[in-house]
Symmetry: C2
C-alpha cells in the first residue's frame, strides 16, 4: 500500500489507486520476457519509503518573507514532500530515480500565486534576485521539463490560477487561467454546450498552461488540431514584462508573438491566461468506425488517401501497427476466438494485420456523411469494417491505459514512450527503422501507432517494453533510449510531435534544428529572460 508521503505517492500516475495489469497482459509479458511467476508476487523498487531530501532549501529568510508577503504564508512550501513533488514530471528516468529514493533536482520551495499580478511581482523579484522559476501545471511532462536543477522555486499554477474566466459564445472562445486542469475546463464548457476538443492521454492531470507550453495534442487532434492550432491569445509574464496578445482570429501585423509561447516549456515566462477556440459539444452526433487491414502499409495508404481526399476529416484517427494490434487482440481476449479465426482465413493475419479507429464529430448529418465517405475509402483500400465496438472500448480506456506503466515497472519492466512527426514520405522508413532498432535488444518489444494525422504527414508513437537490467536500470535505459531517439532522427523524424523537448531530448536540438535556428531561439530567450531564471538548466537546449 502506498503512503501519502512516499516516493511512490509522487511517482504514481493516475488517481493513486493501484492499477494492476490484466490477466491477459500478464500472460503476454510472461511469454514475451519469460518473467517468472515470483516477479508477479513482489514489487521491484517500490519506492515506498518516506521522502527525504538531503539538499537543504537555499531560499534566504528575506526571500521567503518576500514570497509570503506577496502570496500569503499558506502558499509557500519548503517541506521535503512538496519540493520532491515539484522536482520532476513523469519521465521514466524520473520515476526510476524516485523508486531509488533519489530527488536530484528539487526546487528550494513551491510558491502558489493567487493572481496574475502576484505572478508579475514574483517574476520581477526572482529576476532581480537570480532565483530560478519553474512554472508548474499538472507535472505530467515526460521529457524532464519540470525539474529544478538550479533550485529556486516551482510556481504552482494549479492551486489558485485554475478558473474559467470567460466563455465567449459569440466568438466561440474560452479564456482560462493557465493552471486549470482538463476535466474542470471540459465540465464547465459542457455545461454551456461546448467542448475544449483537446484530450491528451494526460487530460485528467494536465493543465491548459502545460498543454500550450509543451505544444500538446489531444486524441481527436486530427479534427480539432493541436493546442497551438486552438490557441487564440496568451497573457504571459516574462522577466522583460507582460506579453498580452489580442484575440483576433488571424492578423498580418508582424509575426505572431503569442506563438512563441507555444512550445516554450516555461523558458520564456509564465503563461497566466490563454484564450482558446472551443467547439460544439454534441457527443450524441459522434460517428465512429473501426477497420482492420492486412498490413501496416495498406492501412497507412488508406489513412493518407482519406486525409488527403478533401471530403471532411476524422477527429480521432488512429492506426495500431501489427505489434500494437496483436497486443490489443491478445489483451482483449479476442485472440483465438471464432471471429479471429475467420479474420486469419481472410488474410488478416497476426503479425501483419492492423487496426484503424475513426471518429467524426460535429453536426449530425455531417458526421454521418463523413463517416460514410471514410468507410467507402477504407474499403477501397482493402480495409474491413469491424463495427464501432472496438472504438468505443478504446475510448473507455483512453486515459487509464497510461496507468499501466507503474505496475509494469513494479514487475521490473522498463517501459517508456517516444513520439515523432514525419512526412508521409518518411513514415514507413522511420517505423521500420525503429522496429529494427528495438529488435536488436534481447527481450524487447515495441508497439507503434499513428494517432495525429495531417494532409502532409502524421505522427508516430512508440511504446517499448523490456525487462530492466537489474542493478543497472538507469544506465541501461539511458543508453537504449538514446539509440532509439537517434534512430528516429536519422530516418527523418522530428524530435517531438507533441510531448515536447524538455531536458531529456534537449541534447538533440541543435543538431536537429541547426545552429542558426538554435541561436535564434536563444536570442528570444535572452531578450525575455536576460538573467536566465525561467526554467533554466538545459530545457529545450537553450
Amino acid at each position: 500500500m502506498e503512503n501519502g508521503n512516499s516516493y511512490r505517492h509522487i511517482l504514481k500516475w493516475g488517481d493513486k489507486h493501484e492499477e494492476s495489469i490484466s490477466h491477459h497482459m500478464a500472460e503476454v509479458i510472461k511469454e514475451k520476457f519469460g518473467l517468472p511467476e515470483a516477479d508477479f508476487k513482489r514489487k521491484h523498487l517500490p519506492g515506498t519509503e518516506p521522502v527525504k531530501i538531503d539538499k537543504p532549501s537555499m531560499l534566504k529568510p528575506a526571500q521567503l518573507d518576500f514570497f509570503r508577503s506577496v502570496s500569503g504564508a499558506e502558499n509557500i512550501m519548503t517541506d521535503d514532500l512538496s519540493r520532491a513533488r515539484f522536482s520532476c514530471g513523469k519521465f521514466y528516468g524520473e520515476l526510476l530515480d524516485l523508486r531509488f529514493g533519489l530527488v536530484p533536482d528539487p526546487p528550494d520551495g513551491v510558491v502558489a500565486p493567487r493572481t496574475h499580478e502576484e505572478v508579475e511581482k514574483i517574476i520581477s523579484y526572482c529576476s532581480d534576485e537570480g532565483i530560478a522559476v519553474v512554472p508548474a501545471g499538472g507535472l505530467s511532462s515526460v521529457t524532464g521539463a519540470v525539474r529544478a536543477p538550479a533550485g529556486g522555486i516551482a510556481l504552482d499554477l494549479t492551486k489558485h490560477l485554475n478558473r474559467v474566466l470567460a466563455v465567449n459564445k459569440v466568438n466561440k472562445t474560452v479564456t482560462v487561467q493557465a493552471g486549470i486542469y482538463g476535466p474542470a475546463l471540459e465540465e464547465e464548457l459542457n455545461r454551456q454546450g461546448y467542448s475544449c476538443g483537446h484530450f491528451p492521454q494526460s487530460f485528467e492531470y494536465s493543465t491548459v498552461g502545460g498543454w500550450v507550453s509543451a505544444r500538446g495534442a489531444g486524441q481527436a487532434s486530427t479534427g480539432y488540431g493541436k493546442i497551438e492550432d486552438m490557441l487564440v491569445s496568451v497573457r504571459a509574464v516574462t522577466p522583460a514584462g507582460v506579453i498580452a496578445t489580442g484575440d483576433f482570429p488571424r492578423t498580418a501585423q508582424g509575426w505572431d508573438i503569442f506563438r512563441l509561447f507555444a512550445g516554450a516549456e516555461g523558458t520564456l515566462g509564465v503563461i497566466t491566461e490563454a484564450t482558446l477556440h472551443i467547439f460544439n459539444y454534441a457527443p450524441e452526433n459522434t460517428a465512429s468506425a473501426g477497420f482492420i487491414f492486412r498490413s501496416f502499409e495498406a492501412a497507412v495508404e488508406a489513412m493518407r488517401t482519406i486525409i488527403q481526399a478533401e471530403c471532411g476529416k476524422p477527429h480521432l484517427f488512429r492506426i495500431s501497427d501489427p505489434d500494437e494490434t496483436d497486443i490489443a487482440f491478445r489483451t482483449s481476449g479476442f485472440d483465438g476466438t471464432l471471429a479471429d479465426r475467420v479474420l486469419q482465413m481472410l488474410g488478416f493475419k497476426t503479425g501483419s494485420r492492423c487496426l484503424m479507429f475513426v471518429t467524426v464529430e460535429g453536426e449530425k448529418e455531417y458526421t454521418r456523411f463523413v463517416i460514410r465517405k471514410i468507410k467507402r475509402k477504407a474499403r477501397a483500400g482493402k480495409g474491413m469494417y469491424i463495427g464501432t465496438t472496438p472504438v468505443r472500448k478504446w475510448l473507455e480506456q483512453r486515459y487509464s491505459s497510461a496507468y499501466l506503466r507503474d505496475p509494469m515497472m513494479d514487475l521490473g519492466i522498463m517501459t517508456d514512450t517516444l513520439e515523432t512527426a514525419v512526412t508521409w514520405e518518411n513514415l514507413l522508413n522511420v517505423w521500420k527503422a525503429a522496429h529494427d532498432y528495438v529488435a536488436r535488444r534481447a527481450k524487447a518489444f515495441m508497439m507503434i501507432h499513428i494517432s495525429h494525422v495531417y494532409e502532409n504527414g502524421a505522427n508516430l508513437y512508440f511504446t517499448f517494453l523490456s525487462p530492466m537490467e537489474k542493478g543497472n536500470e538507469r544506465h541501461d535505459f539511458t543508453t537504449f533510449h538514446r539509440g532509439l531517439v537517434e534512430t528516429i532522427l536519422k530516418h527523418g523524424g522530428s524530435i517531438s510531435h507533441h510531448h515536447g523537448v524538455g531536458r531529456v531530448l534537449a541534447p538533440w536540438m541543435e543538431g536537429h534544428l541547426g545552429r542558426s535556428s538554435m541561436e535564434l531561439l536563444r536570442a528570444v530567450k535572452k531578450h525575455l529572460d536576460p538573467n536566465n531564471i525561467m526554467n533554466p538548466g538545459g530545457t529545450l537546449g537553450l
Copy 2:
C-alpha cells in the same frame, strides 16, 4: 497612351493596358461626387513623363563590382527606371507620388540573384558593408513595405528565383523558389492535378515570397487558410545565417522558427524557398451559391452560424455590406430591373440589403453536401437564394476589379483600401464606426465587405472613394487615412488581417501590440539582422 519609361508605366496596376471604368460606374461617380463631364475627358496627374531620379546611386564602384562578380553584370541595374520601379509598391500614397513625378525612396541599384547561394553571398556582403537590402517580389505591397528609404539594393527575386522546385504528391506539398508568381505556380500545379489554394486579388502580379512575408490571404482562404496556414517550411537567408526548417506537418520542438518569417516583411532576411500545402485541383466539383439578406446584421449572423456549425466550411465566403451591394447592383445593371422591383417588394431594399457569396471546393459529394447545408442555414437566417450566376460573375472579375483604381485616380478620385481582423463580437462596432467616420467627409463613399471567415471572427475590408482635394492631394489623403486607421483600431480591429503593416501602418504598431511585444519583435530583428540592413527604415515599426 502610357509610355514604357514613364511614371505611369510604374504606377499602373495590372497588365498595363488601360482599363476604363464602365458606363454604369461612371454614372454612379457622377451622381455621388457631382463630377463634371469634363473630368471624364482628361486625366488628373497622369504621370506620363519619363522617369528621372535626382538622387544619384550611392553604390561605390567596388560594391558594384562585387555584385557583378556574384550575379553577373546583366543582373545589376542602376538606371533610373529600374530604381524607380523598385522604389515602391502599390500604396495609394506611392501612386500619388509617382503621378507627381516623385520617387522619394529609390534603391541605389537592383540586383537579381540567380541562386540561393548568391543570396547568401549578397546578404553577407551587404551586412558587412552596411548596404540596405529590400527583398522584392511582385511589388504589389499596399503598405509601403518595398521602399528603400535607406537606399541600398532591391533584391529582385522574380527574375531568376521563380521556379517550382518539387511537387511532392505523397506529402501533398510544393517547394518553390520565393520569386515565383501566382499564375506560374498554379499552372504547374494544375498540370499535376493540384492547386495552390491561394488567390489574393494581386494573384497575377504577386509572388510566394511576398505572400508569406506579408501574411497574405487568398479569396478562398476560409476553406484553404491564409498563407501562414499553408506554410510548411522556409529556407531564408539572414545576416545571422541561413534558417532552414523541416517539412514536418506539426512539431513540438520549441516554438516554430519558420513562423517568424510569416509577416516579417523582409525585415529578418530573404526567404529564398518555401514549402506549402497544396490542394486537389477539381474545379468541376466546386459548388457555389449566392444569397441576399435584408440587412448586414442578418447576413453576418447567418455567416457566423454557418462557420460555427461544424458541418464543413465554405472556401470563398463573402458578404458585401449595403453600400457595396448597392454599387454591385448598380454597376451590373441590375438596379431597376423587374427582378430588382420584386426584391424590393420582398423587403430586400436598397441601402440595407446585402449579398453573400459562397463556394465550396473539394470532393464532389462533399461540396454538394456542404452547399446544401449552407443553403439551409442561410435560408433559416432569412437569406434568399439567388442562384450561382452572381458568384460566377464575381469570380470573373476577381483580379481585374483592382485595375479600376488607376482610372479612378485619373478622374481625380482618391481611392484606397484598408482591412482589419475582428472578433465576431466587435465586427458590427468596427463596421459602423468606419462608416460613421467616412460619412463625416463630404462626398465620400465607403464600401465594406467580409471576405475571410473564421470560427472566432472575420476580416473587414474597406474601400473608400472621394474626390481628391485638388492641390492638396497628398496631405488630404494622409489625414483622412490616418483617421480611418485610428477609428478601426479604437473600435477593436487589428492593424491588418492580410495586407501587412509596411511603413504606412508602422506608426500604430507599438501602441497596438504593446511595448513588451514590440521590444520582442525588435530583439528578434536585432539578432538576425544586427546591422539593420534588412528592409530598414521603419518597416513594421521596428
